[in-house]
Amino acid sequence: MKLIWALIRRDLTLATRQGGGAGTAIGFFVTVIVLLPLGLGPDQALLQRIAPGALWIALLLSVLLSAERIFQADYEDGSLDAMALGVVPLELVVLAKAMAHWLTTSLPLAVVAPLFGFLINLDPQDILPLWLAMILGSIFLSLLAALGAAITVALRRGGLLVSLLILPFYVPCLIFGVAASRASELVQPSLLILTALVLASFVLVPVAAAAALRAYLK
């Protein structure tokens, strides 16, 4: 457990000292949101209707764009080999890395996302459910991003492949996330399903991602 904390702390330190982690992702997020009214026209009623879905899609894309970095640097400089040989099972290393990614990228995004909802006329009573759903769903997004990153770790242009492979898996999170983001009777069941998705990916993703990493480390 102490070693896992050490892994997470190492990634957090790296992310804060290098910079460009959460900040860049949030910048990308805001840009997507700003582009939306420019593309769709400034109709307030239309924007209000699509606001939760638009915020979710921007969140998915921002998380995916930063996914590549989860394992790449460690793979290139050999730290990942050392981690694979260490006492912590590779599955838990994956989990620690995914959690570090969540803390540095997805969580900050999910926390500030509803605030940028004001740019596209988000209904104020949707803010609280949207916030809850996004914070919960962002764990799932980070875990799946870690799987995508593991699958493409040694590929030179893995970014596009990650998107092609992982976006289909984001579909359930998007559907139930958006359903949970509108103040209605659907909020509670959708939040429960989101929780189920998070828990299932918590168990399955580390196994699959560790298997992929082992294939590359051989």
């Binding site: 590929l155 492949l161 492979l165 289909p168 579909v171 399955l204 298997a211 294939a215 051989k218």
Partner: protein, 240 residues
């Protein structure tokens, strides 16, 4: 199963199996198409448009079946290290993607006159579209990774992870309030479809399945030839 781990033995088997498979495939397609286009009665609501179903439904079944066999082959490859299992999964993917595309296209051809729209975003249609994306992603993995052994290891994981979508496609019409009609053949309590329509449908399904097996054997054969070619090329470079 382990007996056919030897590619030469597998090639011989494919050689003897292919002619009868093609023969029966042609017969089944001829009979199935005749029955579905000529002898099957028009639907009391849909009229003649119902005939699209005889092409559409088996294609959709096959899209699911091929993905399932792809995932099963990947599990086989992971557990038993069967050397042909990865090849079978790789060879099946483009065929399954074509079935999936065929189901989507015929479905939208049917949807335009019946629902008034080429495409609606409901659970069944969306999940089948996701299935097509999974096929494409799986094929992209084989394309992106140069070393075939490593590509096989990664592709296995992708195929098995994507299998989660198959039950979602199958039960999407039960779980969600879908515009797509529910199951009428493979359901608890037996089929609710009339026998005059069920038979042509089943014969078409048989024809599609045999077509898949025939194409799969050919694709695996060319895959084996390609690997041999790669080996020879590599040996040629080293020998220089």
């Amino acid at each position: 199963m382990q007996k056919f781990a030897n590619p030469a033995r597998f090639l011989k088997l494919a050689e003897t199996l292919l002619p009868p498979i093609w023969g029966v495939t042609i017969l089944a397609f001829a009979a199935g198409l005749y029955m579905s286009l000529v002898t099957a009665p028009p639907d009391y609501q849909q009229g003649e448009t119902v005939r699209i179903m005889f092409v559409h439904v088996p294609a959709a079944w096959m899209a699911l079946m091929v993905y399932t066999s792809m995932a099963a082959a990947s599990v086989m490859a992971a557990i038993f290290r069967h050397p042909l299992a990865d090849m079978a999964a790789k060879a099946a993917a483009p065929i399954g993607a074509m079935f999936c595309l065929l189901a989507l296209i015929t479905g939208s051809l049917w949807g335009k006159p019946m629902w008034g729209a080429w495409w609606v975003w409901d659970a069944r249609l969306t999940s089948v579209f996701v299935l097509l994306l999974l096929y494409l992603g799986y094929m992209a993995v084989w394309q992106a990774i140069e070393d075939p052994h490593r590509a096989a290891l990664i592709a296995r994981i992708v195929a098995i992870a994507g299998f989660i979508n198959v039950p979602i496609v199958k039960f999407s019409v039960d779980w969600w309030n879908s515009l797509h009609q529910g199951a009428s053949v493979f359901r608890m309590g037996g089929p609710t479809i009339d026998a005059r329509m069920l038979w042509p449908l089943l014969i078409m399904a048989l024809a599609y399945t045999l077509l898949f097996v025939g194409l799969l054997l050919i694709a695996m054969r060319s895959e084996i030839a390609q690997r041999k070619l790669r080996q020879l090329r590599l040996a040629g470079i080293e020998g220089r």
